[in-house]
């Protein structure tokens, strides 16, 4: 019985040796540790191959041994694309089919299709590239941006919005930060906001770009589109003047100081007034130190004309400095200008009481900023201590 098993065991051992040999060859000789083949193609250029073996012949040999060798396909396509683009296209398509998420395959094939003017096909590959390899986005996003604002690209963008791949939000933000025409961005973003998929970073950047460009109407409109239906019920010239929703600091919502109070000399928050009231108010606590920046501000887009600003205020031991006041300034080129209207100074102590002041928005003042500032001469050093509460801030148009 033992003698009968010997040939069988020898056969198994032989097969095992053959398999091991193949494993060594494949992993140690034919392919590198990343899985890519060691080809003649690994040399700098095909021209460096020995003259007695034509480059195309070497590639053909490789492909005959393994038709699914992606690196060889790419080289074959690269060789053929100048003189035989149809052959190159077949090779690129085969490479993409074999390795649909390979970085080199995607970029090489996209380059080929771009050079051929086959933009839609190139964009499809570029989308995959930025999806799988985020480090390629810096180079590829400008191409995508240009395409998506083309005649054909607009339709493609709708498809992208519907799919909502992970790269879209970074694409909008990167394009915004790179300085793409804000109108282009607004058009791209509006479809995202309409689909309820725009992120706060996208909206914030695009609205700010439009605002800095002096296109207040468009900035306001993009921001409006980002609001939930309930928030649109009563937008007002002053948004969320009753402080019932959490400020987003985006667009034309409240911007509360975010730096530490040891740096600014104040802290602003929206809280319920102590005593069980259900409604919320703006509370600003001043530390008594020198003031840097403003604790609360909001950009406005009030058309030229006359207005009445009104609200409620409560003051607690504001005994240091000249007090604080609400101001409205026109904003031009991103910078607040001189004060066009200001409230009374809030100083001392008082329970909730109404306050109001008249506002005249001059012609040419398309955008404004409402902010709580220390009272006193412009640019002077200001100190403030104590606490102020505000609620029900309203800007009302008057004849």
């Amino acid at each position: 019985m033992a003698a009968g098993a010997w040939p069988w065991r020898a056969g198994v051992a032989l097969v095992a040796l053959v398999v091991m040999w193949r494993i060594v060859v494949v992993n140690g000789v034919l392919y590198d540790v990343s899985g890519r083949a060691h080809l003649p193609a690994a040399k700098p250029a095909l021209g460096s191959l020995t003259e007695d073996v034509p480059a195309s012949q070497a590639l053909r040999d490789v492909l005959l041994r393994n038709p699914a060798e992606v690196a060889a396909l790419l080289m074959w396509a690269g060789e053929a694309q100048r003189d035989a683009p149809a052959v190159a296209e077949r090779a690129y398509r085969a490479a993409v089919d074999l390795a649909p998420a390979d970085r080199e395959v995607l970029s090489a094939a996209a380059t080929f299709f771009l050079a051929q003017g086959r933009i839609a096909e190139a964009i499809d590959l570029l989308e995959r590239l930025v999806d799988h390899y985020p480090d390629t986005r810096e180079r590829v996003f400008p191409l995508l941006a240009e395409f998506f604002f083309s005649r054909d690209g607009a339709g493609a963008w709708s498809g992208v919005v519907a799919r909502n791949p992970a790269w879209v939000a970074p694409f909008i933000v990167a394009s915004c930060q790179r300085g793409l025409d804000p109108s282009v961005l607004a058009s791209l973003l509006l479809k995202r906001t309409a689909a309820g998929r725009a992120t706060s970073e996208e909206v914030s950047c695009v609205v700010e770009r439009l605002r800095l460009a002096g296109r207040w109407g468009e900035a306001y409109h993009v921001w409006l589109n980002s609001l939930a239906r309930a928030q649109l019920a009563n937008v007002g010239y002053v948004f969320n003047g009753s402080f019932e929703t959490k400020p987003s600091a985006i667009g034309f919502d409240w911007i509360l100081a975010s730096r530490p109070e040891r740096e600014t000399g104040h802290a602003a928050e929206i809280v319920r007034f102590p005593g069980g009231s259900a409604s919320q108010s703006l509370r600003v606590a001043y530390t008594g130190k020198r003031q840097h920046g403003v604790p609360a501000a909001q950009y406005l887009v009030a058309p030229a004309g006359n207005y009445a600003f009104s609200g409620m205020a409560r003051i607690e031991r504001m005994t240091l400095g000249r007090g604080v006041q609400w101001t409205i300034r026109c904003v031009a080129e991103g910078r607040p200008g001189p004060v066009i209207a200001a409230s009374e100074r809030f100083i001392g102590s008082s329970d909730w009481q109404p306050f109001g002041f008249e506002v005249t928005v001059p012609e040419g003042c398309e955008g404004q900023i409402l902010q709580l500032e220390p009272a006193g001469p412009e640019g002077s050093v200001a100190f403030a201590g104590g606490t102020v509460w505000f609620d029900d801030l309203v800007l009302r148009r008057v004849p």
């Binding site: 380059t111 771009l114 479809k191 649109l232 409620m312 609620d391």
Partner: protein
């Protein structure tokens, strides 16, 4: 205590409104006569009030000078009392005026978004992007590829050395 504070709050608010209403500089706005109304409100439509924009509702009255704004995916028709109708597409604004014939009023519904200069634009479903210059795509695509695209992608390929190949 709570009741007292809330009552004071409400009293003060009422006083503020009263003070505002009778202020010598005319803070109060006289109620303007409605001359039109909204019809077929679809989506988020906004109408200017004395305190700013607010949602527009079906049959909502519109006075002279009111502004009507449509957001993305929204449409509305402004119907004047004299029968003139102005249809607003998405992302448009319209100021209710009376000094023009109906045909001119209809033409005053304008897009809020500016068309970028020199760009190829497309007729999107939202109406935000209007038909533009009509330049063929390929005429833009090739310069695009030549100037930055190919160079950028070629650079990407040079980074390939250490990248893994996807499974075959």
């Amino acid at each position: 205590m709570t009741t007292t504070i809330n009552a004071m709050h409400r009293w003060a608010a009422a006083m503020a409104l009263t003070v505002t209403a009778f202020a010598p500089h005319g803070f109060a706005q006289s109620a303007a006569e409605p001359i039109a109304h909204l019809k077929d409100v679809n989506g988020n439509v906004l109408v200017s009030k004395e305190t700013g924009l607010a949602s527009g509702v079906e049959s909502g009255a519109l006075a002279k000078g009111s502004r009507v704004i449509t957001t993305a995916n929204s449409e509305v028709t402004v119907v004047y009392d004299n029968g003139c109708e102005v249809k607003l597409k998405p992302n448009q604004r319209f100021e209710v005026a009376t000094d023009k014939p109906c045909s001119e009023l209809a033409a005053r519904a304008e897009s809020i978004l500016t068309e970028p200069a020199g760009a190829i634009v497309a007729a999107g479903s939202t109406g935000a992007i209007a038909a533009g210059s009509g330049v063929a795509l390929s005429s833009v695509a090739l310069p695009l590829a030549a100037v930055g695209g190919l160079a950028g992608l070629a650079a990407l390929q040079t980074q390939r050395e250490s990248q893994a190949v996807s499974p075959h």
